[in-house]
C-alpha cells in the first residue's frame, strides 16, 4: 500500500515554476532518495510533503488521506534538517521532549520514548547537554533522535550528511541505512545531491532535474537502464563517457555513452587507439584518461594498480552490451 502519493504536484514562486507535474507513489516502509543537481527542487518537494511549503497545484496524500491543507504536525511526518534545527537553549532531552509535551503525552511516556530513541542512537550520555556542547555528528544524531521520538509514518531527511566530514559521513550513512531496517514500517524520504548516498541508501531513487522527475527506479535500474542522458551522466562514478563522434554516427545516434568500467584497456590491440593524458590512482582503482583520435577524451577505469603512465599509447575496447545510445534530445534509443 502506498503511504505517500503525489499526483500532478507543482510548485511556483510567483511566476517561476520550480516543480512541475510530479507523480510519485511511495510504498510503505520504502527508502526513497530524491537526488538531483543543486537547485533542481529536491528540498522544495520534501518541504511540500512536510507541509512547510504550500502546494501550488496537484494533490498530496499520506495513507490515502489528502494532505494539502493539513498542518505539518498532523501529517504523521518527522523531518531532519540539514542544519539540525535544534533548539539552542534546550538540553538534548528537552529538544526531544518538546514536541511530545505539546502532543500531551504523559511524563513517563515521554521519558520512555526519549530513552528508547537515545539508546538507539547511542546519545544517552548526552541528554543533559546543550546543542553547542555537541559535535556536528552528535547534533545530527540528536536531530534524528528527535524525529524518531515522534514515531512518524514518514521520515524526511534533507541532506543530513552535508555538514559532516568524509569519515563521519560514511558512518552516519551506515547508521541511517540501519535505521531504515530497524523501522520497517516507516517510509523514508531522503534528499541528497550525492549519487553515492543515493545508490547506497535507496530502495528506489527519484532523479529530479530542473523541476521534473527524470526517472524513478531502483539503483540498479538507473545504472543499467537510464531513461535519459542526464540520468546516465548523473548516476555512476566516475561519470559515463559521452561520445558524439564516429562511434555515435556508426550506431545512428547523437550520443554514444559508455561507462569507464565497461571499457577494456590493452597495450596490444583494441577498437580504439589513443594516448594516455593522465592517470589517477586510488589504490583500489586507477582512472586512465585517454585521448582517442577522432573519438575524443575517454575515461577508463581499471581495477587495482596499473603500470600505465601519461604518454603511453593504449588500445581500448568498449563492451558492446553496455553501450547506451541517445538521440539529440537526450532520450535513449531502443536497442
Amino acid at each position: 500500500m502506498a503511504t505517500v502519493e503525489l499526483t500532478n504536484v507543482s510548485k511556483s514562486y510567483g511566476n517561476v515554476e520550480v516543480l512541475r507535474d510530479i507523480n510519485l507513489s511511495l510504498e510503505k516502509g520504502e527508502f526513497v532518495v530524491f537526488v538531483g543537481p543543486s537547485g533542481c527542487g529536491k528540498s522544495t518537494l520534501l518541504r511540500m510533503i512536510a507541509g512547510l511549503e504550500d502546494i501550488s497545484g496537484g494533490e498530496l496524500r499520506i495513507d490515502g488521506k489528502p494532505m494539502n491543507d493539513v498542518l505539518p504536525a498532523q501529517r504523521g511526518i518527522a523531518m531532519v534538517f540539514q542544519s539540525y534545527a535544534l533548539y539552542p537553549h534546550m538540553t538534548v532531552f528537552e529538544n526531544m521532549a518538546f514536541g511530545l509535551e505539546q502532543a500531551r503525552l504523559s511524563k513517563p511516556e515521554i521519558e520512555a520514548r526519549v530513552r528508547e530513541a537515545s539508546k538507539m542512537l547511542q546519545i544517552e550520555a548526552l541528554l543533559d547537554r546543550k546543542p553547542k556542547q555537541l559535535s556536528g555528528g552528535q547534533r545530527q544524531r540528536v536531530a534524528i533522535g528527535r524525529a524518531i521520538t515522534r514515531d512518524p509514518r514518514v521520515f524526511l531527511f534533507d541532506e543530513p550528511l552535508s555538514n559532516l566530514d568524509a569519515a563521519l559521513r560514511v558512518d552516519t550513512r551506515l547508521e541511517i541505512a540501519g535505521l531504515g531496517e530497524r523501522l520497517p514500517d516507516t517510509t523514508m524520504i531522503y534528499v541528497t545531491h550525492d549519487q553515492v548516498e543515493a545508490m547506497t541508501l535507496a530502495d528506489r531513487i527519484v532523479v529530479l532535474n530542473g523541476g521534473i522527475v527524470e526517472q524513478v527506479g531502483t539503483p540498479m535500474e538507473l545504472y543499467e537502464k537510464p531513461a535519459s542522458q542526464f540520468v546516465a551522466g548523473f548516476i555512476g562514478s566516475p561519470r559515463m563517457n559521452f561520445l558524439t563522434g564516429p562511434p555515435a554516427k556508426a550506431h545512428g545516434a547523437a550520443v554514444y555513452g559508455i561507462r569507464p568500467e565497461h571499457i577494456a584497456l590493452s597495450r596490444e590491440s583494441g577498437d580504439w587507439t589513443g594516448r594516455v593524458v593522465l592517470t589517477e590512482r586510488l589504490g583500489s582503482d586507477t582512472f586512465v584518461h585517454v585521448d582517442v583520435e577522432a573519438v575524443g577524451a575517454v575515461n577508463v577505469r581499471i581495477e587495482g594498480r596499473s603500470e600505465i603512465h601519461g604518454g603511453d599509447t593504449v588500445h581500448l575496447t568498449p563492451d558492446p552490451a553496455s553501450v547506451h545510445l541517445f538521440d539529440n534530445r537526450g532520450r535513449p534509443l531502443a536497442g
Binding site: L52, L71, P72, F81, F98, G99, A103
Partner: protein
C-alpha cells in the same frame, strides 16, 4: 620544555600590546569621566560655590547630613539626606524609570516582532519607526509641549472632540498629569530604540528552529514563550539596562516639558537647580554624587538579579 620560554615571551608581548591599545581609551576615560567625577565627589565635601570654587574648604559630610542643635533638647537635621524635596526627586526618578522602561520594553518587543516578519515595504516601515528616536529630545519635547497645551493643544482638542473629556486638561502644568505627560513623550521617543535593539536580537534567532517548532505542532504563543523569548532575553536585558541608565539620569524632557514642578522633578533636575540656579554648588555636588551612587546601585542590583551575561561567556 624548550618551547615554553618562547611561548611566554610571545604572550608577554601580546599582553603589552593589549595594554598599549587600551591606553588611549583609559586616558580618555580618566580625563572625561573619572576626573570630573572625582572633583564632584570632592566638592560635595566642601563649601564651594560657583564664584569661589578655588577657595573651597573641607566641611566633612555637612552637605549630606548635619544635626543643628537649637539648645534645650531642640534640634533639627539638615542636609541632602534630610531634604524631602530630594527624596521626592529620587522617587520621581525611579517611578519614571520603572514605568517608562517597562512600557518601552513591551512596546519595543511588539514592534520588533512585527518588523521581524516578512511583508511589503518592511524597509520603509523600519526606517519610519526610527523617526521619533532621531528627533532631538529638546525638539520633540517642545513639539509635545505644544500638542499637550491646555488651550491650543491638539491632544485636548481631539479628546474633547471624541467626548472623552469635558474640560481641557493642563497636561504639563497640573501636578496630577505632569508625570503622565513626561512619560508619554519619553515612551513615544524611546520605544523605537528599544525595538531596534530587540530586533537585532530577534534576527540572531535561527529561522530553522521555527520550522522545527511547526513540525512539532507548537502553537505560536508557546513558540514565543518557550523559544523566542528565552533566546532574545539576553538582548532584551542589555537593552533594558541601557535604557534604565538613561532614564535614571533623565533631564532634558523634564526640564523642557514641565519645568519647576515637584511632581516631575528628577534627581538630575534637582542637582542642576542647586548647582547653577541656587548657587549651592557644594550641595548640588552632593546631590550629583548621590545620584551616581543610586544609579550604580540600581544597575548593579539589576545585573546581579538577572544574572546577566556581560562578558559573553554563555553565548
Amino acid at each position: 620544555m624548550s618551547a615554553n620560554p618562547v611561548k611566554s615571551r610571545l604572550s608577554r608581548n601580546r599582553t603589552r600590546s593589549a595594554w598599549l591599545f587600551l591606553l588611549p581609551m583609559l586616558v580618555t576615560l580618566f580625563v572625561v569621566a573619572a576626573w570630573p567625577l572625582g572633583r564632584t565627589v570632592w566638592f560635595s565635601f566642601t563649601d564651594a560655590s560657583l564664584d569661589m570654587m578655588s577657595e573651597a574648604r573641607w566641611v566633612g559630610i555637612r552637605n549630606y547630613l548635619e544635626y543643628v542643635d537649637f539648645g534645650g533638647g531642640e534640634g533639627q537635621y539638615y542636609g541632602l539626606l534630610a531634604d524631602a524635596r530630594w527624596w521626592r526627586s529620587v522617587w520621581n526618578t525611579v517611578l519614571f524609570a520603572v514605568v517608562s522602561v517597562s512600557f518601552e520594553t513591551v512596546f519595543g518587543l511588539i514592534i520588533a516582532l512585527v518588523l521581524n516578519q516578512q511583508f511589503r515595504g518592511r524597509g520603509l516601515v523600519r526606517a519610519a519607526v526610527l523617526i521619533p528616536w532621531a528627533i532631538p529630545t529638546i525638539v520633540s519635547a517642545r513639539m509635545w509641549a505644544w500638542m499637550l497645551h491646555d488651550q491650543f493643544g491638539i491632544i485636548n482638542d481631539m479628546l474633547q472632540g471624541l467626548g472623552l473629556i469635558a474640560e481641557p486638561i493642563a497636561w504639563t502644568a497640573s501636578p496630577d498629569t505632569a508625570m503622565i505627560a513626561v512619560l508619554i513623550v519619553d515612551i513615544w521617543k524611546t520605544t523605537p530604540f528599544m525595538a531596534l535593539l530587540i530586533l537585532a536580537g530577534l534576527q540572531m534567532v535561527p529561522g530553522d528552529i521555527y520550522e522545527a517548532a511547526k513540525l512539532d505542532g507548537i502553537p505560536a504563543w508557546r513558540v514565543f514563550r518557550k523559544v523566542t523569548l528565552p533566546l532574545i532575553m539576553p538582548a532584551v536585558l542589555v537593552a533594558v539596562v541601557f535604557r534604565a541608565l538613561d532614564a535614571l539620569r533623565v533631564f532634558d524632557i523634564v526640564y523642557v516639558l514641565t519645568p519647576n514642578t515637584d511632581a516631575t522633578r528628577t534627581m538630575s533636575v534637582y542637582a542642576r537647580e542647586n548647582l547653577f540656579d541656587y548657587d549651592q554648588f557644594a550641595y548640588g555636588s552632593a546631590a550629583s554624587t548621590l545620584l551616581f551612587l543610586i544609579i550604580a546601585l540600581i544597575t548593579i542590583t539589576f545585573i546581579m538579579a538577572t544574572r546577566m551575561d556581560l562578558e559573553g561567556k554563555r553565548s
